[in-house]
Amino acid sequence: MDCLFCKIVNKEIPCHKVFEDDKVLAFLDIAPVNPGHVLVIPKNHYQNLEEIPEQELCSLIIIVKKIGKLIKENLGYEGYNVSENNDPVAGQVIPHIHFHIIPRKNGDGFELWKQGKYLPGEAEEVLKKINNMVL
């Protein structure tokens, strides 16, 4: 398996482990946005949200919630962003699904992406396309 994260799970590559159980591993991102930036991954290899079974996804997000709170409280932060980049077009660099927990302080300067607006009728068009596919 040529996946960097699978090698970390298998202890072939070291990591700063924050948490581990039988399904999930969490470790410090070595290139943090802010110190304490954590990656939370399933131990099984899944590329993205489409591949990971619901049950494993739920186990993962529950750990994300636990670790987010721990990081905020114990490293003196005031909030955090949870994010998942699904596919290389979304900035996913490692093709093994992972959630980022990025700790935040007031005024640390990280801005959200700019928001735009819909032209008349545009939202309805887009909605139709999605609604046709939502089960």
Binding site: C58, I62, K65, I71, K72, L75, G79, N81, N85
Partner: protein
């Protein structure tokens, strides 16, 4: 209840509804980062992720997965960004817990935040502080 998202869920304010089940409501952000930008909320008013029960958080996350797939198939996008902002320090503007699901395209110009490195011993220091509470 003075919460804009609660008003949307109650249909006091109209929305472009994407999805609804017993615990979750999803609708278009009317100021989208990209077309189809969807907000997924718990129907129950909970300020942030830490107030959610495991069941509520799981329900929201399952909806994210369903809607993400619908975006790929319906909008023909290859991927999307999922994020949840916890507290105002993390840019949470509405104090009702919500995921954002933003469809993405090649060259859309949406950049990740810059990443740096750790100084000597810094990572170990962070780790010790967190692990001592696990």
């Amino acid at each position: 209840m003075d919460c804009i998202f609660c008003k949307i869920i109650a249909s006091d304010i109209p929305s472009y509804k994407v999805y609804e089940d017993d615990m979750v409501y999803a609708f278009f952000d009317i100021l989208p980062i990209s077309q189809g930008h969807t907000i997924i909320v718990s129907k129950k008013h909970v300020a942030d992720i830490e107030g959610l029960s495991e069941e509520e958080l799981s329900a929201m996350t399952k909806a994210v997965k369903k809607i993400g797939k619908a975006m790929i198939e319906g909008l023909g996008v290859k991927g999307y960004s999922v994020f949840l902002d916890n507290k105002s320090a993390a840019n949470q503007h509405v104090p009702h817990v919500h995921f954002h699901l933003v469809p993405r395209a090649e060259g859309d110009g949406l950049e990740r935040w810059p990443q740096s490195g750790y100084g000597e011993g810094e990572a170990e220091f962070c780790l010790k502080k967190v692990q001592s509470k696990l």
